[in-house]
């Protein structure tokens, strides 16, 4: 995409590459240090693949002490470090830097303890999200947050991004489902926040780390809460003749006191795309499709379905189908889960956005996106976690066309500004990373950003850990938006700025 501003490259580090590689090889098995061009290539990007960058070297430590030694070494030698989980992040949070070590946690792939009595699992951060559920499901338990990448994404990455998923309205995001973390700070200090009990006393440092996008520490162990699988789970597939009627029904379901396990919305463009792609049997005549999932005991679910049916009929739904078996329920989800590849099949590239808005503003947001789509002459398909207001417009474009690239980026940025204008935020679950860095000023003013930077500075005073991510580079925010920085001269040179 457009030229990306990254922290100033420290040439002295580049010049010392062979010495650094040699020293790192003393801190872990030398097989774990990668420095040849072909070895580094797989680490050049994460799931925001429009940006690539070759790191100085990749280190794949095997235990917490090694992470600590590596970070301590980098701290003493002023070497930047970019932590990486499974590399499935969509906002470029794990994009390497030319003069930085990429610290991959892929070898931390073991579940350390399954503790049914305390309803938790202690795991290394490289274990996949779904891997945790797989380890406990034979006893009827599961781990609740379910980002769509759960097959591949790691739990450590989930902590860094505070990942959500389809079920986060009822069950919360990562921060609500972890009990403790072990973390290594940039200077090598190993610390532990929380454990197997609830609500650690004092500052909620685990809450601060969760969602900090790898800027404050490297997580080396996570204790997650596990829940009992509900007795009954059923889904309803409901078509509406207009965006407004479907949006209103979704709002009314929530305001009537129902908390669905999941509630998803897809617009007409996506209904067609996914139905072509996965033959999910979606109502193709509908302008908007609502998938509502309800869980609990049998009578609880029956009662909720009765209420949801009544609300949807009142809002003129054009079709309503209930799942009568687990197979059918999964088939309802098949199309929704194929949303991204379906868009991939329709255009050479797609760009997935991630804003949150108040639920009641759904119709307004979708109509605004439609207008923008016409303005930029780029097709867009929308899916939406309607339960919690998290919107994922997928803009389709051709990456080889420079002008289309530019327009896509501008289109995406306008969508996120619309989210803020409607009372929402610029990222619901994908994180800021490098992608939405410059949009932070749409939400926060100078004071807000400076407070966050002060925290960063207090825990990583040399700004070595994942620098250049989340916070705008050389740009300050003012109440009305962005402030022009003339000739790179800053008004407050004493303030921390990363």
């Amino acid at each position: 995409m457009s030229e990306l501003a990254l922290p100033k490259i420290d040439n002295s580090i580049l010049n010392r590459k062979s010495e650094i590689v040699k020293n790192l090889s003393k801190l872990t098995d030398k097989e774990n240090v990668l420095s040849e061009a072909d070895e580094l290539r797989p680490y050049e990007t994460d799931a925001l693949s429009v940006y690539t960058q070759t790191p100085l070297a990749v280190v794949l430590p095997e235990n917490t002490d090694e992470v600590s030694e590596i970070l301590k070494y980098c701290y003493n030698e002023n070497i930047k470090v970019v932590p990486r989980g499974a590399g499935t992040g969509l906002s470029g949070g794990a994009l390497p830097l030319q003069d930085a070590i990429l610290l991959g946690l892929g070898k931390f792939n073991k579940i350390l303890e399954i503790d049914y009595k305390n309803k938790c699992v202690v795991t290394q951060p490289g274990v996949t999200n779904l891997g945790i559920t797989h380890a406990v499901q034979h006893k009827g338990f599961y781990y609740a947050p379910d980002p769509s990448s759960q097959l591949a994404c790691s739990i450590g990455g989930n902590v860094a991004e505070n990942s959500g998923g389809v079920h986060s309205l009822k069950y919360g995001t990562t921060t609500n489902n972890i009990l403790g973390v072990q973390m290594v700070m940039m200077d090598g200090t190993i610390c532990r926040f929380g454990g197997k009990s609830f609500d650690q006393e004092g500052y909620d440092l685990m809450g601060l780390i969760c969602g900090s996008e790898g800027l404050l520490g490297v997580v080396t162990e996570v204790t997650v809460k596990i829940l009992k699988t509900p007795d009954v789970v059923r889904a309803a597939l409901i078509g509406f003749p207009s965006i407004k009627e479907g949006g209103d029904a979704a709002s009314e379901i929530i305001s009537s006191g129902i908390v669905p396990a999941g509630m998803e919305i897809m617009d007409k463009a996506l209904i067609e795309a996914t139905d072509n792609f996965s033959k999910a049997g979606y109502p193709r005549d509908a302008e908007l499709l609502l998938i509502v999932e309800l869980d609990g005991t049998e009578s609880e679910v029956n009662e909720l379905i009765r209420k949801v049916e009544a609300i949807c009929k009142k809002n003129n739904c054009s079709s309503l189908k209930l799942s009568n078996s687990e197979k059918e329920r999964l088939s309802f989800w098949a199309g929704r889960k194929a949303a991204f590849p379906a868009c991939g099949a329709m255009a050479p590239d797609y760009y997935c956005m991630d804003g949150s808005i108040p639920r009641g503003k759904l119709a307004e947001a979708l109509l605004e996106i439609k207008k923008l789509s016409e303005k930029y002459e780029l097709p867009v398909a929308n899916c939406f976690h309607a339960g919690d207001g998290n919107l994922h417009p997928l803009i389709m474009f051709d990456g080889n066309d420079k002008e289309q690239l530019r327009k896509t980026e501008e289109f995406g940025s306008e969508i996120l500004k619309t989210c803020v204008r409607l009372g929402g935020v610029i990222t619901g679950e994908h994180g800021v990373g490098i992608e939405k860095r410059e949009l932070m000023c749409e939400m926060f003013n100078d004071n807000d950003i400076q407070q966050q930077l002060s925290i960063k500075k207090s825990l990583d005073e040399k700004n070595l850990l994942n620098p250049g991510k989340v916070y705008p580079i050389l740009r300050k925010c003012a109440e009305e938006g962005r402030v022009h920085v003339h000739k790179n001269k800053d008004k407050f040179p004493d303030l921390p700025r990363f």
């Binding site: 609830f198 006393e201 500052y203 969602g211 900090s212 305001s255 908390v259 929402g424 990222t427 619901g428």
Partner: protein
Amino acid sequence: MSTKIKINSQIFQDSNNVYYPKDEVEVSDLIRELYKQDTPTEIIGNNSKSFIGNKTQSANTTSLSKISGIIDYRPEELYIKVKACTPINEIEKVLSENSQELAFEPIDFGYIKDGKSNKGTIAGYLSCNYAGSRRFKVGSVRDHVLGFKGVNGKGDIIKSGGTVVKNVTGYDLSKLIAGSFGTLVALTEITLKVLPKKDSSKTVIIYPNNYEQIYDLFNKLSSSSSEISGAVFIPEQSNNKEFSAKRNNVFKFNDLKSKVSFVAFRVEGDKISIEEKINNLKKELELNNSDISTLDVYQSEPFWKKINNLEVFEKTEHNLIRMVIPPANGSKLSKYLENNHNYFIDWCGSLFWIEVNSKKEEKIKDLKKMANDFGGYLTVIKTSSEYDYGESIFTVDKVRLMISEKVKQSFDPKRILNPGKMYRGV
């Protein structure tokens, strides 16, 4: 300890020299002035929980009690935005009119303080982060805060979060503020997630024979897919006649046996699913031939109020301890407590409220060691008048203290806000 200084502002001050800023701008002006003059201040709301924590090392007091009122309540969006010192009662009243509630079930600390209800303000509550009985199911106060505004120790007005549930924009400072005892920001505005109130509730009482059975029940209850929303154990401590009499007086219900230990669990929802869940649980807990009783909704609701008001420790003059441990270690702790202290267990085996005789402060050290060994922590919520602070009232290890100091520094570099309230130097 600094002395009182003249603040050049128009902010209202009462005869005890307490400042009462009326909005966030006045809070900002006041703190900026205090910052310039290196003068710390205690931050209070309406004083319902100010007895919790250490005495602050400051001569000034700032009351945020005038910053009160509901700003924006959107039942259909499941949030309420309020000024920081809005009384919890006021929030609960307006939510109740829309069949909604603060799901974390605020504890009413007024009863242990002076024997009458005083839930205090939402800012005070958030600053303590002590959730009630429903915690193990719905999360704590920190899990229900969507965003806040406040003034840091330099006088800057800052905000974090918003009104939407899904939000990963920047650091999640709402979590950090929860449980920070006013040492990071003076709160001015708070947005909370609210949830629909359940139609009804019932409470099942079981009279167990021994500690193994209690924890077996807790384990089965938390492993069931028939979700419960509260589970407590109330021991009968016949060796302490005074406490025993009080306990039996507090838990006087038609359908509850007196003078025996009991486990109580609550099921909430619509009436049909309550019956279904109770029947499932009776099977899973193998209760069909056991001695049990059931409290209907008219008994169930006041029963849980009494639990969350800590009424068995009403007006206690002893030290009151709140200990949280992983539930699997609970039976060992209960056995120890049986002959030593008055107590009860909440959160399905995880939260212990323990009363330690005023003359036995050294016992707190033993309990703290146990809390650490069991993988938990304790806080001395109320100290007796004889408490000499030889044993700190919070639990913190060296590394966390070091990080806490750094975090404090980043919000409040001159330690203007509630210095020493939690730890020395923070």
